[in-house]
Amino acid sequence: MFQISLYTALGLSIAGLLFRIYRFQKKGSSGTLKLKLSLNLKPAFFNTIFQSKLFYASKTRWAVHFLVFSGFIYLVFFHALDEWIAFNLFQSYQPTLDPFQFLRDFAGFLVLIGCSGFLLRRILNTWINPDNTTNYKGLFPIILILLVMGSGFMLETIKIISEPVFLEMVEDYSDIDEDTDLDHLKIYWETHYQVRFKKDILITEEALEHGRRLNTDYCLDCHSKIKSAFISKALATQLDKPANFLNYYRADNWLYPIHYLLSFLMLVSLPFSRFFHILLIPFASAQQKMTVRHFQEKAVSIHPATFSACTNCGLCSAVCSVYPNFLITGNKQILPHFKIESARKMMAVAHLNPKKLNQLQLGNDDCTLCHHCTDICPSGIDLQGIWQTLPQTLHKMGYPDNYTFVKDTALQERENKEWEKEQADRAYDLTQNLTGRVYSFENCVQCTVCTNVCPVVAYGGNDNDMTPQQIMNLLRLGKKQTAAGTRMVWNCLTCYMCQEHCPSEIKVADIIIELRNISNQTTDSLKIMGAADKADK
C-alpha cells in the first residue's frame, strides 16, 4: 500500500516535471524568448540555500520563510527519508531516540510557526496580494504543509498513548512473559510515557521501581523519554479522555496512511503548485542578467521558466519607479508583480483576454527601466529583462506601442470620431489646455523661426510631415486631432528650441507636448475600443 502510493506519487511528480520542462522548451522556441545557457551559479547557490536576496529585501519575511525552509529540509532528510539518509549517517539513529526525537518535533514546530506567519501576512496586508486566483494558489501549499505537520504530530501523539503499540513494542523488544513484570512496566510507562491502559492497575512504590528497572533493561537504549517530543507530549496530555476509545480503534493505523498520503500529495503537486518555486528560483537566479550591451545588441532572451519563479510577493511593486502612474491611472498592469502574472499567462495561453493584453501593453509602456524590480526580486528573476522584451512580443500579437500605432493609422481616421466629442467635453482644466484656448497660438506671425531651429525638421527628412508652426496653423484651423496625429508631434524631442526662440513667445513645445498627451489619450481609447471588439469576437 505504502510502496504503491509512494511510487505512483513519484511517477506523477516526475511526469509533471518533464511536462513542464517540455512546455517551457516549446514556448522557448517561439521567437524572442529563447533558452539561455550562460549560467552564473554563485548567486543561484546563495539565493537558494540562504535566500540571500530575500534577506536584503525584507528581514522579517526572510526570517519567516527561513523557518519553514530549514525545518522542512530537516524533516525531509531525517524523517521522511531517514531509512536512506539518517540511518546511514548515524549508526545510533533511532527516530525514538534523542536528540532526533526532539529535533523532529522542533523542526515541525519551526515549520508550523513559519506557515502561520505566511497566513498571518496574507491576512494582514491584502493590498500587496494579486487577484483571488493567485491568492488561493498561494494558500494551497501552506494549507497542505500545515496538514502534513498536523497529521504527523497527531500520529506521534496517538502512538504515545496507544496500548496496542506498547504491547507490540513489548513483543518486539523484550522477553517479558510474566504478567506482573508486564504490569510493572505498564505502570512505569503509564506514569512516565503517558501510555493509557484499558483497565487501571494499582500503583505501588516497588512496582514502579521494578518497572523502572525493566525499562532500563529493555527499552531505554532505543526509546528516550517522551518529554523531548515536547509538542506530542503536550497533545498527549490533552488526549487523556478519548484515549481508550482511540486505542480501541487503533487510530494510529489509519492516521499513518493519511500522513504519508498527504506528503505524497505534496510530492505530486510539486510541479503544478507554488511548490514549484523551490526548483524554479535556483534556476531563475542562475539565469544571466541582462546588461545594457545586451539591449544595445538586441540579444535579449528570457527563459520562460523564470516567469513561473515569481511568488507574487509584491516587493517589486513597492519599489516600482512608476508607482505614481498606477495611483493616477489605476492601471494595475503598471505594477511589476501584476505585469509578470499577465505576461506568464500570455506565454502560457497566447489568447489572453484582449482587454487585459491591451492594459498590459499600456502599462508596460510606462516602465522607465530603472531596474529596481530586478534588484529586489527575491526569486532572482530578471524582471527588467522581461519588460524590455515584452513590447516586441506584444507587437507581434497585435498590440503595438502608441508611437507605432499612430504611425500606422491614417490621420483622417482620427478626425470626427465619436470619442472625440467626449474628449472635447472632458474638461482639460487640470492641464494648461493650451490647445483649447485660441490666445495661446493665435499670435503666430508665420515667421517660421520655430521650424528653422527644430532639429527634427532639420534631420527628419522624409519622416517629417508638419512643421511646428504648421501645427499652430492646424490648431487655428480647428484640426486638433489631425495635429495630434502628425509625425511632428510624435517625433518631437521636447528640446524646447522652438519655444525658446519664438518671437511671439508662443509656448510651441508645451503645445506640441500637450498635443501628444491628447494623441496618447485618443490612441488609448482607440486601442481600448479595438480590444473590446476583439474580445467580442
Binding site: V449, N452, A458, G461, E500, H501, P503, E505
Partner: protein, 427 residues
C-alpha cells in the same frame, strides 16, 4: 509662489532687439554692470544690413547717393527726427563702435564709405544701405552689364534666381542662373538648416563643382544669404577659392541668416562680458525711489527684482512689443510713457500700402530730448536716467527712410555714453 531673486546693477537694458543689443554692448564695453531683458529672436527679422539713411525726402523717386547730404537736409526739415538730435560724427562713431564690437566676435562688416551702397535683394530690387557684412558686400558693387551667375537652391522657398534675373534683365543682360539640388533633400529646405549644411566641407565641395563650369562665363556669383551660420566669411572665402569666383550673398525673407549671425555674435559676446540676460522676461510695475529704479522682471517661474540706476528702453515698436495699439490709441507698454501719435485710427494708414510718404502710424513713438530721454507733453524730461532708444522713437519712419539701424545705433550709444558720463563718479 515663484522663485524670487534680487539683482542690483548700474543699468538695465529692456529689449533684446538690435538697439537693445547695441546698448548692452556699449554698456558692458564701458564696464557697467548690465542686466538685459527681452526676446533676442526678433533679430531673425533683421536683414543684417545697417542702414544710415536711404531715402530722403520721402516721396522722392530714387534712393539718395550720399547719406550725409540727405542728413543735412533732414536735420533742417525734420527737427523732431532722432537724427536731428545728434550729429553726423556721432552717427559715424556709433557705426564705428558697432563695427569694432562685431569684429571682436568674428563677424566682419565693411566700414561705410561716403556713399550708400545698393544691395541686391531676393526680390531683384536694390536696397540702399550703409554697412553690410563682408559676405554681402560684393553685391553692393554690382555694375551694369557685369556678367553674373545667380544660384538658388531647390526647396528653398521665396528665393528664385530666375525671378531676380528676370527683374534685373533691363540693366543686367548677362545673367546666368543655376538651381542647385541639395543631395538627399527632396522637399522643403529651411534657410537655417541649409546654412548649417554649408559648414560641412563635403557639401561645399559638391557646390563648388556645380559652380565652377561658369567660371569662364562670369566673374561674380550671387547666392541666397545662407552661407553658414558661424564663420560665414571663412566659408565664403573657401568657396571662392574652390571656384575662383567672387561670391556674394543676397539677403532674403525672414528668418534671415545674417540676422541670426548678428544674434549669435551679440549673445556670445555679451554673455562673455557678463551681461545678465533674462530671456522672455517682462518688466512689470517699474518704480523709481528717487535714486534708483526698482523693476520687477517676471516670467513663467521667476520673479526677479532688479535695482538699477539707469534704464535703456529698447523695446521696439509693435512687433517688439514696445508699443501696443488698441483700437483707439497707441500705448507705450513698460512705463506707459506719452506716445506721439495721429489723432485717430483712420489716419494711421494710407489707402495705398506702398504710399511713398509712408503711413502716419510709423512716425508714432516716444519723444525724447537730445540724449534720448523721454519727455512729457511739455517737453520736460520724465526720469533723469531713463532713456528710450531704437525704433521706439517718434518721428522716424525707418522703414521708408531706410534709417533703422542708424537711429538705433546712434541713440543707443549716445544714451549709454550720457548715462556713463553722468554716473561714473558714483561708480
Amino acid at each position: 509662489m515663484k522663485d524670487k531673486k534680487q539683482i542690483t546693477c548700474d543699468i538695465t537694458v529692456i529689449g533684446a532687439g538690435f538697439a537693445g543689443m547695441v546698448a548692452a554692448a556699449r554698456a558692458s564695453d564701458l564696464g557697467l554692470k548690465t542686466v538685459q531683458t527681452g526676446n533676442s529672436s526678433h533679430l531673425y527679422f533683421a536683414s543684417g544690413l545697417f542702414d544710415f539713411l536711404g531715402v530722403y525726402p520721402l516721396g522722392s523717386r530714387t534712393p539718395i547717393e550720399d547719406p550725409r547730404t540727405g542728413l543735412e537736409l533732414l536735420q533742417k526739415e525734420m527737427p523732431d527726427h532722432p537724427y536731428s538730435k545728434t550729429s553726423l560724427e556721432t552717427i559715424l562713431k556709433s557705426f564705428d563702435f558697432l563695427a569694432r564690437f562685431l569684429h571682436s566676435t568674428g563677424l566682419n562688416y565693411v566700414k561705410p564709405d561716403k556713399d550708400n551702397r545698393s544691395v541686391l535683394t531676393a526680390a531683384g530690387t536694390f536696397k540702399p544701405t550703409c554697412m553690410m557684412p563682408e559676405t554681402i558686400s560684393k553685391g553692393g558693387l554690382l555694375k551694369k552689364d557685369t556678367p553674373l551667375l545667380l544660384i538658388d537652391f531647390k526647396g528653398l522657398e521665396g528665393f528664385c534666381a530666375g525671378q531676380i534675373a528676370a527683374v534685373l534683365k533691363k540693366n543686367h543682360p548677362y545673367i546666368f542662373t543655376l538651381s542647385v539640388e541639395v543631395p538627399g533633400e527632396s522637399g522643403n529646405l529651411n534657410p537655417t538648416y541649409l546654412a548649417t549644411l554649408f559648414e560641412d566641407s563635403s557639401f561645399l565641395k559638391n557646390l563648388a563643382t556645380q559652380i565652377s563650369p561658369f567660371s569662364n562665363k562670369v566673374k561674380l556669383v550671387g547666392m541666397p544669404a545662407v552661407c553658414g551660420i558661424n564663420k560665414s566669411l571663412d566659408i565664403l572665402t573657401r568657396l571662392e577659392k574652390m571656384t575662383g569666383l567672387d561670391i556674394f550673398e543676397i539677403p532674403m525673407m525672414p528668418p534671415s541668416i545674417p540676422g541670426l549671425r548678428l544674434k549669435n555674435a551679440f549673445e556670445k559676446k555679451l554673455a562673455g562680458n557678463h551681461v545678465h540676460f533674462l530671456s522672455q522676461t517682462k518688466i512689470t510695475s517699474p518704480q523709481f525711489n528717487g535714486s534708483e529704479f526698482i523693476l520687477n522682471a517676471v516670467n513663467q517661474n521667476m520673479e526677479t527684482q532688479i535695482r538699477s540706476k539707469g534704464i535703456i528702453l529698447a523695446t521696439g515698436r509693435f512687433p517688439g512689443g514696445g508699443l501696443h495699439a488698441k483700437r483707439g490709441c497707441i500705448q507705450e507698454t513698460v512705463f506707459n510713457l506719452p506716445v506721439y501719435q495721429p489723432d485717430e485710427r483712420s489716419l494711421w494708414h494710407h489707402l495705398n500700402f506702398f504710399e511713398k510718404q509712408g503711413h502716419m502710424i510709423n512716425t508714432a513713438g516716444v519723444e525724447t530730448d537730445i540724449v534720448f530721454r523721454p519727455v512729457d507733453t511739455h517737453g520736460a524730461v520724465i526720469y533723469e536716467n531713463l532713456y528710450a532708444v531704437g525704433t521706439l522713437l517718434a518721428h522716424n519712419d525707418w522703414v521708408r527712410l531706410k534709417s533703422g539701424s542708424g537711429v538705433s545705433a546712434v541713440s543707443a550709444v549716445t544714451a549709454v555714453n550720457d548715462f556713463y558720463k553722468k554716473n561714473t563718479a558714483g561708480l
